[in-house]
């Protein structure tokens, strides 16, 4: 019998707030944190809106200034939420009270699983001054390299920076992974962390997802691909016209039930299961029938040993593109038939933070279960009649149990589903 996996800490940041509570409050007020992009002047752009974190000050996120030169914007977000989740969990205080060999053993048994979205394009622009000097001559490029480009360039570019620096800053030394699978990276980090705990490879694991895709070349590509809206996110709405990029990060500290009990941890919820499938039809293709997503949900419920009727709420991917929302609705109908639980989505509030989205939605799903409330999709005006009788609402709904199903989709036809439960009481 594999170990039960509980949640003992969380952290989150996005355009709508810098803690899970702040983000929850913003979602409940119904005002989207979608604003004109500030990182460059995008006023004349076909898409000029995004879910940017306003006034982002690196020092407010990660106090060690030496580290700032070694990290990209997305990495700062990931390190910040990791620290918040550890703080909230009381893990550090527990470890400090142990004698050194016991603390070392705890570190060896604590894993780090991170999902991230790729390092974007801007980092490569640091070669532009050198390209200008070289003027097409590679000989000059090679000779002037050392004098022109920051010697630490590669280290800042590494996709696995958050794994590395969580390790160095917090001393965690257990099993680890850095998932680089577009928008499902964060939810796969949760799934793999939980699998490591179930298999006895670790007693605790920090799962993190982070992304900061709002940069000029990314926005333009997404626009070219027809994925972006000109004015806002309206998931499942008849007039939805596309998604908008967001940025952010979220973290969950997972522990086996016995490891949490060992340190008398406050338990917020439980990981029950996960499912992952792909549709294998190319990087950008999505099947209209929602086949891959329906398969992922079925696998996750099987893993959680639950029937569809036991699911209390669904946090949909709800990216607000015509195709993704329609196929997602098809998948939900296929699994739940005429009796789907309340469905909501959160991206309307802070944009689509790609690799962070699945884990950020998971953190919010657990807040929702704790409050016994499924927040409405505030931007919904008229449910798309082509989506059938999907139980999504502009107004809050009541979950029908303490179990949430969190759906997440990414490029390559990737689909994941996570099943989470809120703790019956906050103290165990």
């Amino acid at each position: 019998m594999s170990a039960r996996v509980v949640v003992a800490g969380s952290g989150a940041i996005c355009a709508a707030g810098r803690t899970p509570g702040e983000i929850w409050d913003a979602v409940c007020t119904g005002r989207p944190a979608i604003r004109p992009i500030e990182q460059w002047d995008a006023s004349g752009w076909p898409t000029s809106l995004a879910g940017e974190i306003p006034g982002l000050d690196p020092r407010a996120l990660v106090e060690d200034r030496k580290l700032h030169k070694l990290l990209q914007r997305s990495d700062l977000l990931g390190l910040y939420v990791a620290g918040r989740a550890l703080d909230e969990s009381g893990f550090v205080a527990y470890r400090e009270a142990l004698d050194p060999p016991a603390a070392a053993a705890v570190n060896d048994r604590t894993g780090v699983y991170v999902g991230q979205g790729g390092s974007g394009y801007q980092n490569d622009y640091e070669f532009f001054p050198l390209l200008t000097i070289a003027n097409g001559d590679l000989g000059t490029f090679g000779r002037e390299l050392a004098a022109t480009v920051n010697p630490m360039w590669l280290l800042r570019s590494m996709p696995n920076n958050v794994v590395c620096h969580i390790g160095i800053r917090h001393g965690l030394k257990g099993p680890n992974a850095c998932v680089t699978n577009h928008s499902v990276s964060g939810s796969l980090a949760v799934a793999e962390a939980a699998a490591a705990l179930r298999a006895g490879e670790a007693d605790r694991a920090l799962a993190v997802g982070h992304d900061a895709p709002i940069e000029p070349q990314v926005v333009l590509y997404y626009h070219q691909l027809g994925l972006l809206s000109a004015d806002g996110l309206w998931p499942f709405d008849a007039r939805r016209s596309g998604s908008l990029l967001g940025e952010g990060a979220a973290a969950l500290l997972l522990e086996t039930e016995s490891a949490a009990a060992e340190r008398h941890a406050r338990v917020f919820g439980e990981f029950l299961g996960s499912g992952c499938t792909t549709e294998a039809e190319g990087l950008l293709a999505i099947r209209a029938d929602g086949d891959g997503l329906a398969g992922a949900i079925a696998l996750a419920l099987e893993d959680a040993e639950l029937r569809p009727a036991e699911v209390g709420m669904v946090v949909a991917h709800g990216s607000s593109t015509r195709q993704s929302d329609a196929s997602e609705a098809a998948a939900i109908h296929r699994v739940f038939g005429a009796t789907a639980p309340p469905v909501t989505a959160f991206k309307w509030a802070f944009g689509h933070p790609l690799a962070a989205s699945g884990i950020l939605d998971s953190v919010l799903a657990m807040v929702a279960l704790r409050h016994g409330m499924v927040p409405g999709v505030a931007t919904l005006r008229e449910l798309d009649p082509d989506l059938g009788n999907l139980p999504v609402s502009k107004l809050p709904q009541a979950p029908r149990s303490d179990v949430a199903l969190v759906l997440n989709r990414g490029f390559g036809g990737s689909n994941t589903a996570l099943v989470l439960r809120a703790a019956a009481s906050e103290a165990r």
């Binding site: 019998m1 594999s2 002047d41 004349g44 060896d108 780090v112 979205g117 790729g118 394009y121 490569d124 622009y125 532009f128 001054p129 050198l130 390209l131 200008t132 590679l138 000989g139 090679g142 002037e144 390299l145 050392a146 480009v149 920051n150 010697p151 630490m152 590669l154 280290l155 590494m158 696995n160 794994v163 590395c164 390790g167 160095i168 965690l172 030394k173 099993p175 680890n176 992974a177 998932v179 680089t180 699978n181 577009h182 699998a195 298999a199 490879e201 000029p216 070349q217 333009l220 590509y221 070219q224 992952c276 499938t277 792909t278 294998a280 190319g282 990087l283 891959g292 398969g295 390559g412």
Partner: protein, 432 residues
Amino acid sequence: MTGKPRRVAITGLGLVTPLGNDVAATWDALLAGHSGVAPITHFDASGFPVRIAAEVKEFDPRHAIEDRKLLKYANRSHVLALAAAEEALRDAGIRPEVSDATRWACVVGTGKTGLGFGELGEVHRHCAPDGHFRPDRLLTDAFAMDPLAFCRSQTSAGLALLLQRFGIRGYATAVHTACASGSQAVGTAMKLIRRGTADYVLAGGFDSMIDPIGLASFCLLGALSTDNETPERASRPFDATRNGFVLGEGAGLLVLEPWDAARRRGARIYAELAGDGNSLSSYRITDSHPSGDGPIQAMRQALTTAGVRPEEVDYLNAHGTSTLMNDRSECAAVRAVFGSHAGQIGVSSTKSLMGHLIAGAGAVEAAVCALAIHHGVQPVNANLAAPDPECDLDFVRGQPRVRRIRAALSNSFGFGGSNSCLALRNPDEVEG
């Protein structure tokens, strides 16, 4: 899952490496001691402090992949991966069918992707001719409007191509922990089968950083050997005179399946993929602790999860990058884990011949271990004239060592501190 975890068999191998464009050519070159390191031909490297690399040679993507449309979505490392995957599936004699596609998974370690050098040059010419980037120029840049360039630059692009090409519809993921990527991917794949998430996994790693930016990035860190005049001797892990690693490129893919299923269908089993160790050094970005802390935990876990006793290990494919800090830390770790048995293990770093394939390295080296077990031969650690006195292991020098291997380990340690160790076991040891 209840009961005993499923035993995992390696039944298919595919390689495209600097030593050869398939498994047979790579293995032959390893045994013959031919070096894959030579002056760089991919671009004019004459101005760089390092002008040598281990390139994949005479590789024609159209020969390997007849689907021309697919190739438009692929960068060089993706094409190498597609070719290696094709060989691995052919070698295994099994491939995803519509009926079992959802029971196939794919886990790959992928390189740090982004724009190609030529593509970056296009953006520079249009948007930053004076070196200063002007975002608005992108709006009139035909290249920045090209969805194909976007697709090729995605970190999950190689994965998506493999899934599409071979029709894999189960669990799929791409991972990146620098030089440990390929090995972590193979380890994760093993666990997917053990926990019942998948029945078959196409797993491996691929990378190609031999372009001006990739070479520059390692030159800036001073991590590469500058022995431009003697390329075939430049990579000399554990030698007292080593002075850095040699950048390579390539792909290694493996087909994994449950042992019993492999036996039932009469498949050739190269080895059991028996154990996986995975740890974080949490010491420095680019180094492990000199004591071997970090790698020690990974090797111990690999042995434990494999149920292999230290004295059963006959061969270690070392990470062996040919950098001072790595080589010494790794040797300290081997001594700490194996104690007096450390001297009985044949050790070689095949990076001495094929260079460092970065995200592809761990997967290619896992395949080398499977071949070493299958053939009963330990490939050499080339260029080891005078071992560093701090590295006092039993290195395979001069000639490959013909000797039955009961169990083998493959080490991979990445920038960022991720350590991965895979344990492989001889099929005869499994079935007595």
